[in-house]
Symmetry: C2
Subunit: 208 residues, 2 copies
DNA sequence: CAACTACATGACAATGTGTCAATTAAATTG
DNA sequence: CAATTTAATTGACACATTGTCATGTAGTTG
């Protein structure tokens, strides 16, 4: 028991070391500009060792995305005890997501970017899918609460609406490079776009 | 004149051959799964030759995206002579964009994906930026027409709104992989999501 | 036809990936 | 505690891909 347990703990520490090293590099230089060699050097081990703990670079990024999901989950959970109506909760959660982006940009990118990987490609990706779903449900549940308390119109689909809100947020948060181009071109700030997006959503889901 | 002109024509044909070859491969296998070697083989020339006509793989993709922009521009221009109100035009343009995706998925991806490249990275990217802007303006102008004819509320920002609509469309059209995951998970079809997105936009911009 | 020009080629250096045989370290056992 | 087994780590290897560039070639010109 104790021996196997200690072994397991040591493996976890080593795993954490790799994630920490990768995170540092990914957040400062960007995922695409970091090689597995760079990560190995930063973590002070041979490149081959990384593959003993992770399937590949994407798999490491997925592990970082799981951390991201946890941080976002904690931020979301701070909204819950405030006793807000459905529509107020939607406003608060949108704002929280925007704050998550502002304060944890690196994690935000990991959370978003990992979406491009195949969900069946690794154990981490499977796990990420689960934590993602929990955060998604916080929002769609808030919409349902709005149905119940009469602050949100009942003729909208909670899942579709949550998805639309998510896409708007990603749009705001410099994820889509073409958006950045248009923003520069028309001198639109990120805060302005966030504000417009939020008002647009609220206007179209609130009960008259 | 004639000699230089013929030379120029030949260069253009060769250029077109490369784009055609690349397009065929990109559309069937996906951009990331095609190497410059593959393109060279398909175009029946040496790999080095490709670099005489294009800066790199992204540059070829940008050329394909310019074709995409032209197709979209033509589809948009068919909406113009219909004498629609501002809000009706927004509905029609949204639908057209969705049709563009459905009928020209490969071009749609090129149009979208090329957004990730730096706009100062090549002449093609500069050119792409211009044609992109024209299409963007068709939509934002329609919003302004809605201001004038009283079908769209005046307190919204045309640029921000166009950007939001664009992000919604991209969300619908399977561009964001995470979205696909949620759609599968909650059994939401693409047509349903398109419908929800469109209604959401119209509801929030129409004048009461 | 000799000299020039522009174009096309493929070998090359660089950079990156994932694997695996060999090595090293750690744990177990008599 | 020495011998033996087991597990972890390493870095060299094979392979893929990129962009460049010296070399070759074909067409053009005086």
């Amino acid at each position: 028991m104790t021996k196997a347990y200690r072994k397991e703990k040591e493996r976890e520490i080593r795993r954490k070391d790799i994630i920490d090293a990768a995170e540092k590099l990914f957040f400062s230089r960007g995922f695409d500009n970091v090689s597995m060699n760079d990560v190995a050097k930063q973590a002070e081990m041979a490149r081959g060792t990384l593959y003993l703990y992770f399937k590949n670079k994407n798999d490491i990024y997925a592990a970082i995305a799981i951390r991201a999901a946890k941080i976002l989950g904690e931020m979301f959970s701070e909204v819950q005890p405030q006793n807000l109506t459905g529509i107020e909760k939607i406003r608060a959660l949108s704002f929280t997501y925007y704050q998550f982006y502002k304060k944890h940009t690196g994690y935000y990118h990991a959370y978003y970017h990992s979406g491009v990987f195949d969900y069946k490609s690794s154990h981490n990706m499977e796990k990420l899918k689960e934590v993602r779903k929990i955060n998604f449900q916080v929002v769609s549940d808030a919409i349902k609460e709005g149905f119940a308390d009469g602050t949100i119109r009942e003729d909208i689909d909670p899942v579709a609406t949550t998805l639309i809100m998510l896409s708007m947020s990603n749009n705001v948060n410099n994820i889509i490079p073409a958006t950045q181009m248009y923003m520069d071109e028309y001198e639109l700030t990120q805060d302005e776009l966030f504000e417009s997006s939020l008002e647009m959503v609220l206007r179209s889901i609130e009960k008259q």
